[in-house]
């Protein structure tokens, strides 16, 4: 414990190791995001993530957006374990037939008001997999989608900026 504290004091803030430009971008976008979320969602926007057959890269980037460098949580966005706690459903993947029932029941389990964000090119229209026999062509054909975050996979900073733009428009 003492060693960890000592190294923490000696090292300072680790997230400063990233490039100043990126760091500035995150901070600026983040503080605006925080104030918008404070206004609209009472300090926290809760997101439930559902993977409907993505390759795993989108998940990896969402997890990266929660690491200490981007740290979405400090701007008021947190990922929750249950749809009952969520304001927003974040869907990745092209919606495999096997996930259709699970996706719909997750959406139904969420309390109103609720909205859906899709993340990654597959979730928009099936992407690379759209000609497959086992894929429903994107989330939009099944449930109402409020926002799409493009990219394969979108980087954490893209995720932050797209959500920010969306909330600005909603104002």
């Amino acid at each position: 414990m003492m060693r960890i504290l000592k190294s923490r004091i000696l090292k300072g803030v680790v997230s400063l190791h990233i490039e100043p430009e990126l760091s500035k971008g995150i901070e600026e976008a983040g503080s605006e995001l925080r104030s918008l979320i404070r206004k609209r969602y009472g300090r926290s926007l809760h997101i439930r993530e559902v993977d409907t057959g993505s390759c795993g890269a989108c998940e990896s980037e969402i997890i990266s957006a929660n690491n200490p460098i981007y740290d979405l949580q400090r701007f008021g966005i947190s990922f929750v374990a249950s749809p009952r706690h969520a304001d927003c459903l974040l869907v990745t993947g092209p919606v495999s037939k096997n996930m259709l029932i699970a996706l719909k029941s997750t959406y139904e389990a969420m309390p109103e008001p609720k909205f859906i964000i899709t993340l990654g090119d597959c979730a928009l229209d099936g992407g690379l997999f759209k000609d497959s026999y086992y894929v429903c062509k994107g989330v939009g054909s099944i449930l109402p989608v409020a926002l799409h975050i493009p990219g394969c996979p979108p980087s954490p900073i893209d995720i932050i900026l797209t959500i920010l733009k969306f909330l600005r428009k909603k104002e």
Binding site: D51, C55, N67, S96, N98, Y133, Y134
Partner: protein, 525 residues
């Protein structure tokens, strides 16, 4: 061991063995074509002689050309750095074969796959429930990998039958397909007697996207992007295996520089995934500080990837015949500098983990996969290495890893701690390998070789961070893919997880799961 020696060894076990055809199309592949009656015996003999699990077992539909299905079974011969492929033709009217699964467990899931995708029945296989095409949404009778497949959806839907454990006080805990975390979809059904788990049944297929069918009928050059998206966290290993299969068919030798660059990128991919898994293990044991630390290291590697290749997940680098991205002096320096910091941070991370008594107590002797069980199940890759089976394609099909004196990481105990240690050792080894390879880059060499289009079939393979990634490709003379069979190491390793958790309690399951860190999308394809 050349092909005549293999046949002599098989004859020791099967005295009247006679192969219909024997060939060696590439230096590292031996093809044995046998009579359908001999198929089972030959496969079992090879399984014993080479002590290799069934690495692949798959069917090809050639009814249009000659009215047959071809079944191929792939074994690996580590001693002689080669793959042995046994094949048989079965006529359309008699679409069945004798099951191998009763004698070799590693064939079991492959047979279920052949049954659901082609409608070829493995006779007497005790478990023919469908793996990926779920009974609730896909009627029986539509076999998607047949060439003449059309969606009819005529049959009836039914329910999936889970294995039941009966007895007083036994209860079930179903989990998934959607889990609490940000993770792929899969269903786990625990049967418990009090606290200890007595049985864990896995049900997958939720991420099934019909990838193998998507490959068919398309031009080889357009498919690297699809190969990268089979399992997005090992994009590079996938595109590498795909490119290698195509290069073998076209007879291309890639420039030495390209193979060095490929090795560097492959090791970078291994590093960011291993450190992610190490952090995940710490988190699942409730130790969040190392997890945060590990995710900073992961981010540093991802950002390094982006700077040197333009993509955080090392996509769009591999092409048939070489690579597109060069590592020049500037990038080289960048990698060396970043590696220094990454190594320092990683060292700190392992110190924190090793000095925490409660963490070590939690991972030690948890989730043990015994060597014998791992062998019987046909575990491969990192999971096998943690259980004391020295299995690493980089060691046995070395290429340029030979001159780098690659050292295989091996642990005997097969528990979570063993898998953690293998990851730590491999991370450090990867750092060393990258530094070694960087010094070997020759500035003046080209990045790509030219080639001529040719038809044929070949096996491509690479050692991804989870274990071997295998691509069996058949390309027509015009460059269109006829059949593509992909096997991710997760497909063979998931069963290991269900044995590792037996006797443990449910709260240890996430920890065990993260220590395996297997792919959902790679398994479900």
């Amino acid at each position: 061991m050349d092909s005549s020696e293999i046949i002599a060894r098989i004859k020791e076990v099967l005295p009247d063995f006679e192969a219909l055809a024997v060939s060696r199309p590439y230096a590292d592949e031996v093809l044995l074509k046998v009579n359908p009656l001999d198929f089972k015996g030959t496969s079992l003999a090879l399984h014993k002689i080479l002590s290799s699990p069934v690495m692949m077992l798959f069917a090809c539909d050639e009814r249009e050309a000659c009215g047959i299905f071809v079944i191929r079974c792939v074994f690996v011969d580590f001693k002689n750095s080669q793959w042995v492929i046994v094949s048989m033709d079965i006529p359309e009217q008699h679409a069945y074969f004798d099951t191998l699964a009763k004698s070799m467990y590693s064939a079991a899931n492959f047979e279920r796959e052949i049954w659901e995708m082609f409608g070829i029945e493995p006779k007497e296989n005790p478990d023919l429930r469908r793996l990926r095409l779920h009974d609730e949404v896909w009627p029986k009778g539509d076999y998607p990998l047949r060439k003449d497949f059309k969606i009819t959806q005529a049959g009836n839907l039914s329910d999936y039958k889970f294995n039941r454990v009966d007895g007083e006080g036994i209860f079930e805990v179903p989990v998934g397909p959607i889990h609490a975390g940000i993770i792929g979809p899969g269903h786990f059904r625990f049967s418990l007697a009090g606290e200890p788990i007595v049985n864990l049944e896995l049900r997958f297929g939720f991420a099934h996207r019909g990838v193998e069918k998507l490959f068919e009928g398309k031009l080889y050059a357009d498919l690297l992007g699809l190969a990268e998206c089979v399992s997005g966290d090992s994009s590079f290993a996938y595109s590498l295996a795909f490119a290698q299969a195509a290069e073998k068919i076209f007879g291309v030798t890639i420039p030495a520089k390209a193979s060095i660059l490929r090795a560097i990128f492959l090791e970078l991919e291994r590093m960011h995934n291993h450190v992610n898994a190490i952090g995940g293990m710490a988190l699942d044991a409730g130790f969040s500080f190392p997890h945060a630390y590990a995710s900073i290291i992961k981010e540093a590697i991802l950002q390094l990837n982006e700077k040197i290749s333009g993509n955080r997940y090392l996509r769009k680098i591999n092409v048939i015949g070489g690579v597109t991205q060069d590592i020049d002096e500037v990038r080289k320096e960048l990698i060396v500098d970043s590696l220094k910091r990454i190594k320092y941070d990683f060292n700190e991370l392992t110190k924190i983990l090793n000095s925490s008594i409660s963490f070590m107590d939690r991972v030690d002797t948890t989730g043990v996969l015994r060597k014998k069980t791992a062998k019987d199940l046909g575990a491969v890759g990192l999971v096998a290495r943690a259980s004391g089976i020295p299995m690493d394609l980089r060691k046995y099909f070395p290429g340029i890893y030979d001159q780098a004196k690659f050292k295989i990481s091996l642990q005997e105990s097969g528990d979570v701690l063993a898998r953690l240690r293998v990851r730590i050792n491999e991370f450090e080894e990867s750092c060393r390998l990258i530094e070694y390879f960087l010094a070997k880059i020759d500035k003046n060499e080209g990045l790509r070789s030219d080639f001529q289009l040719k038809g044929g079939s070949a096996l491509g393979y690479s050692e991804g961070w989870r274990g071997p990634v295998l691509f069996w490709l058949e390309i027509g003379p015009m460059g269109l893919i006829k059949r593509c069979k992909i096997v991710d190491s997760s497909f063979l390793n998931w069963q290991g997880l269900s044995f590792a958790v037996i006797g443990d309690i449910i709260p240890d399951f996430p920890l065990c799961n993260k220590s395996f860190d297997l792919s959902y999308s790679g398994n479900d394809l």
